[in-house]
Structure formats: C-alpha cells, structure tokens
C-alpha cells in the first residue's frame, strides 16, 4: 500500500534561522502518528509544510501520493486540518460554520447536507447546531472545529495541538473520536504536549531543535532507551540531545530521578 506521508530531508529556513532541518519519516495509511517536543521545536513548521502552506527550502515530501511542492492544492482538498486556535467564526452558529466550510471544500446541495448530517452525528453536535460559536466552551469549540475538518471526508487528518487548553474530560472524548476515525481507516498526524495522549499513538516522533531525532512505536522507543514511561523518555531526550538547553540545567540542579 502507498504511504500516507513520505518525507525526505525536509528543511525550512526563515532567513538565516533554520526552523526545520532534515526531517525524514514515513507514515503508512490508517495509522496515528504523534509529534512531541518542546515549544518552538518546529512541529508546527513541519506540519505546515506537509499541508502545503509553507514551501520547504530543501528536501521533498509526498502527502497521499501528491508532491507538496507541485501539487499543494490536491493535498489541501484531501486533508483535514485543525489548529489549536479552533479557527471558527465566533459570530456564526455551529451550523453556519459547517455550511461555510462545506462550501469552501466545494460541497453543494444534497451532498453538503448529507455530509453535514454525518459529521453532526459522528461528533455528537446535534443540539448545538443553532448555537453561536462564541457561546460554546473550549471543549465544544474543539469538537466543532474537528467537525469542520471532517466535512469533506479527508483521507488524512492533521491536528496541530488540538487539545491545548481543553479540560481532561473533553480531551478524552476528543481522543476517543480520533481512535474511532483511525479504525475507520483515516490516517492521523497529531502534535501534542500530553504524554498520555502520545502513548495511545501508533507511532511517535520526537522533534527537537528542528530535527526529528527519534521515530517509532511508543513501546519500541521506551524499550530502546530503557525508560518506564514517556515522560522520562522525553526528559532523557532533552538531556541527551540538547545539553545547552537551559531547562536541562534546571533539571540537573533539581536532581530529578
């Protein structure tokens, strides 16, 4: 089977600053891959290059078989994207937001209505549809944003810190949905700061200083470095890979075991 994502040596420079250097990984279809790493490590930049939003300075990548450099519009039509900002229109109702995104993805008439009903049922938005988005809580906004990203039946779902600032219950509900979608065959690429979320992914990628330093299943990675849990693994990587990181000194000074 073809790979959902095939990344070969992606590099992104902003002026003289190198945000991403030499990222290479492959993701088979139907899998969930989690990106973890400190803030500013380059997770969002990698994701944006894969969405066709940022143009890579070097390297190449195909997403769902399309080249990010030459066929970004093909990719955009086939992926669902959601950022931590829950990019919804506050002054529109849930239903109006869904209608707008359906239109943006080129869905019309019966097709649009059917897809809308499908995602409303899937996400469980039924009673919320006439409500203004501004009146929703963070957890509900997150679900509406996911619904908007699923309207066009994407083959690949890309989520950039979708659970930042959301309460644990909503996070659990959200991740149950992600696993459900994955079981139905959708490929998911997600970045997160929560290790409990990362642990449920099929593959993990650790991103540090613009480099993807380790890829593998959570179990493999723990075994490889001999750690009991992902928290320890995370800290181990920070100590190991970035000895000049000031946070590292703090950890050492604190004598964390």
């Amino acid at each position: 089977m073809d790979l959902a994502i095939d990344c070969q040596g992606l590099v992104k420079r902003f002026g003289t600053y190198t945000a991403v250097q030499g990222v290479t990984f492959q993701l088979p279809p139907g899998a969930i891959m989690g990106f973890v790493g400190p803030n500013g490590a380059g997770k969002t930049t990698i994701i944006r290059m894969l969405c066709g939003v940022l143009v890579p300075t070097e390297g190449q990548a195909t997403v769902l078989g399309y080249d990010v450099l030459t066929q970004p519009e093909e990719i955009k039509q086939r992926i669902g994207y959601m950022s931590q900002k829950f990019s919804l229109y506050d002054d529109l109702t849930v239903s109006e937001n869904l209608d707008f995104y359906a239109g943006v993805y080129g869905l019309r008439g019966k097709m649009a209505r059917a897809e809308k009903l499908r995602v409303i049922e899937l996400i469980g938005l039924g009673e919320r549809t006439p409500q203004l988005v501004s009146s929703l809580s963070g957890g509900w906004k997150q679900r509406v944003a996911l619904a908007c990203a699923l309207l066009h039946n994407p083959q690949l779902l890309i989520l950039d810190e979708p659970t930042a600032g959301v309460d644990p219950v909503s996070r659990r509900i959200f991740w149950d949905l992600i696993h459900l979608l994955s079981k139905e065959g959708m490929t998911v690429l997600v970045s997160t700061h929560y290790m409990d979320e990362a642990a449920t992914c099929d593959y993990l990628g650790f991103v540090f200083y613009g480099r993807l330093i380790a890829v593998g299943s959570p179990e493999d990675m723990k075994k490889r470095e001999g750690k009991d849990n992902l928290d320890d693994l995370f800290i181990y990587y920070v100590e190991h890979e970035a000895s000049d990181d000031p946070r590292n000194l703090m950890i050492k000074k604190g004598g964390r075991g």
């Binding site: 944006r48 969405c51 066709g52 939003v53 940022l54 143009v55 519009e73 955009k76 039509q77 992926i79 994207y81 950022s83 900002k85 990019s87 919804l88 229109y89 506050d90 995104y101 943006v104 993805y105 080129g106």
Partner: protein, 380 residues
C-alpha cells in the same frame, strides 16, 4: 488607603517608556505626525487665494486693454495667462476647471477710455468654490475702484473737469455655476466622496484583517479555496454596501440639503461606482499590509487627513505649493472631487471628465493588482 508609593509609580513609568520605545509605529507617529501635520496645515491651509488660472478674451487689443490685464496680474490673485476668442472657448476653460475666472474686454474698451467715456469689462467667476469666488470678486472690485480713481484724476488733470458723473471703468462681475455662492452647494457633493472613502475603506480593511486576527486565515489557507475566490467573495458584499451608502448619501444631499446635481445622475452613479472600486482596492491593500484591526484603523486615519487637506476638499489646489499639488494628485479623492463637483455644479458631461475618470480607473487597476499580489495564500 496606603500612601502613594514612588517605587510603584516609577515602575509603571519605566514600563510605559519601554512600551513606547518598543512600539516603533507609535514612536514614529509621535515624532513624524506633528511635523508632518504642521507642514501640511501650514502650506495647505492657505485661505489666501493667489495665482488662480484665468482666461482672457481681449477684443480691444489696445495698449489700454493690455495695461488693464497687467494690473489684473499685479493683484496676484489671478494669472491671466490664457488668451482666447469667443464665449465657447471661455466656457470650455471654466467647465473643465482649467480657469477659475474669465476676463472679457469689449472692442470699444480702448476707445471709450481714451474718449473719456465709461469703459466696461465683464468678469465671469467660477462660483463652485465660494471662498475662491468671493476673493476674486473683491479683488476685481478693488481693482475697478482703484483704476477708476486713477483715471478720474488723470482726466481731471487733462481736461480740468470731470466729463460725466459715471465712473470711467465699470467692472461687471457675474458668478457662474453657484450664483448664490452657497458653501453647501460646494461642500455637499465633495462630502459624498470623502464619506464614501472613509467608511468603505475602513470597512473593507477590517474584512481580511479580522480573519488574520481570529486565526481563521490560517485555516482558510489549508483549504482548497483560491485567493481570487476569497478576495472576490470578501469584496462583493462591500461593493453592495458601498452602493447602498452611495445612494443614501446622494439622496440625503439632494432631498435633505436640497443640493441637486445639474448634470446627469446616471453618469454620477456610474463614475461614483468606479470611485467605489478604487476605495475598495485601498481598503484591501490596507488589509493585506495590516496585521491587526487597530493597525488597519490607524492606516485609514492616516489616509483621511491628507484627503481633507490636499484633495481640494476645502482648499483650492491651485494655490498650493507644487509638492503638495503632486501629493494631492496621488489621492483618488482628488479626481473624484473634480468629477462630483463638475456634475453637481457645472452640469458637465463625460467630455470634460474623461481624464479624471481614466485616472480613477488606473488607480483601481493598479491598487487592486498590488493588493492581490500582496495577498498571497500562504504564510511564507
């Protein structure tokens, strides 16, 4: 209540100075705005009417008539540089705004002056700008009086007696376009342009910046939507809103203030629509440069002041220094004011307005092109 703490006060003071120092835009505004405004106001707010273009039809062609033209020039109010034959040409000059006043010297001017009779001069004044018209008229009154006294004393010396009681030089002034010289007739049409510009430019500039501020732009960029689809979809509602406000302003001007256009209303609406597109393009350009709605608002305000001062909205552009005339020429409003006043006050048609219309079209095309180029659908 605890006592006033100098430490806390100084802390706030320091912090605020740091804010100001870091905020380059405000710093520039604090330094550049006062100087810029003083220069603008100092030069543009010039209620002295000087060196207005004038047209002369000298039918007399005598030393006396040339002498009279020279004394008109010496008043500094008018530059009688254009010489024509016949009323049609004079009308051309006044209709197109190439001249603000016309001087008509009849064939018997020299003969009458030499013969000790009363000589007549006709002056036509473009009354669309009442301030200018009044200044020109009073200048001619003074000139007439002065010349008459001078002639009378010359005649007294020459003949020892004053032949008749009538003044030797009679200047008959007539005001065209706005005979009652009402300022609202001058101001209301121009206000249509100014209001339309300010309201629509601001609304449009908010439209895209809002998406940036909310973060929805990022989401849109990841969707297959094309820049053109997004731009047109965003612009069209404002074309509609702009059209509605145009009609509202026009109706208020006509029915409430009683300022009825002499020229064709369909032409006015058509040319206003072109102006509307230019304004939309400005709004769009602001939108693609600004990062927040506040910035967009500030940019719109920066546009408003020169629009009032330099476009000819209040002060005649002819009396401004060259540099300010050029700066005013960069504002689309300048050309629209020519159009809207031409149609309202002079009742002229496209044959006199095509240049201004073409300039507006050029503005719209160039600004839209720049805005579309600036507005790229990726984050790079």
């Amino acid at each position: 209540m605890s006592r006033f703490s100098w430490t806390r006060f100084i802390a706030v003071l320091k912090k605020e100075f740091i804010h100001i120092r870091r905020d380059r835009a405000s710093l520039i505004m604090a330094v550049a705005m006062p100087i810029g405004m003083l220069l603008l106001f100092g030069y543009a707010v010039n209620t002295d009417v000087e060196h207005l273009p004038a047209v002369v039809w000298d039918q007399s062609q005598t030393a006396d008539s040339r002498d009279f033209i020279t004394s008109v020039r010496n008043t500094q109010y008018l530059n009688p540089d254009n010489f024509v034959q016949g009323y049609t040409q004079i009308e051309n000059y006044l209709d197109s705004g190439k001249a603000r006043a016309a001087l008509i010297i009849p064939p018997d001017f020299g003969k009458n002056l030499q013969g000790g009779k009363q000589a007549n001069v006709q002056v036509l004044v473009d009354g669309s700008d009442p301030t200018v018209a009044r200044a020109v008229m009073s200048a001619f009154q003074m000139l007439g009086l002065d010349k008459s006294l001078q002639l009378q004393s010359e005649r007294l010396v020459a003949m020892g007696t004053v032949a008749g009681m009538s003044t030797p030089l009679n200047i008959e002034t007539r005001v065209w376009y706005n005979p009652d010289m009402k300022s609202k007739v001058f101001n209301i049409p121009a206000l249509i342009g100014l209001i339309l510009q300010n309201v629509i430019a601001m609304l449009t500039s908010f439209a895209i910046v809002r998406e940036k501020e909310r973060g929805t732009m990022e989401q849109l960029i990841v969707t297959p939507i094309r820049s053109l689809e997004l731009l047109l979809g965003k612009l069209l509602p404002f074309v509609f809103i702009g059209f509605v406000s145009l009609i509202l302003i026009l109706a208020t001007g006509i029915f409430w203030f009683g300022v009825v256009p002499i020229g064709s209303i369909p032409l006015l609406v058509l040319l206003s629509t072109i102006f509307l597109f230019t304004i939309l393009a400005i709004g769009l350009l602001i939108s693609s440069v600004a990062k927040t709605q506040l910035q967009a608002m500030q940019m719109t305000f920066i546009l408003i002041l020169p629009s009032i001062l330099l476009s000819g909205f209040i002060f005649p552009r002819e009396t401004m220094p060259k540099l300010l005339v050029i700066m005013g020429g960069l504002l689309p409003l300048t050309y629209f004011l020519e159009i809207v006043r031409g149609i309202f006050l002079k009742g002229v048609g496209i044959e006199y307005l095509w240049q201004d219309t073409l300039t507006l079209c050029a503005f719209a095309v160039v600004l839209l092109a720049i805005a579309a180029k600036k507005f790229k659908k990726n984050l790079d």
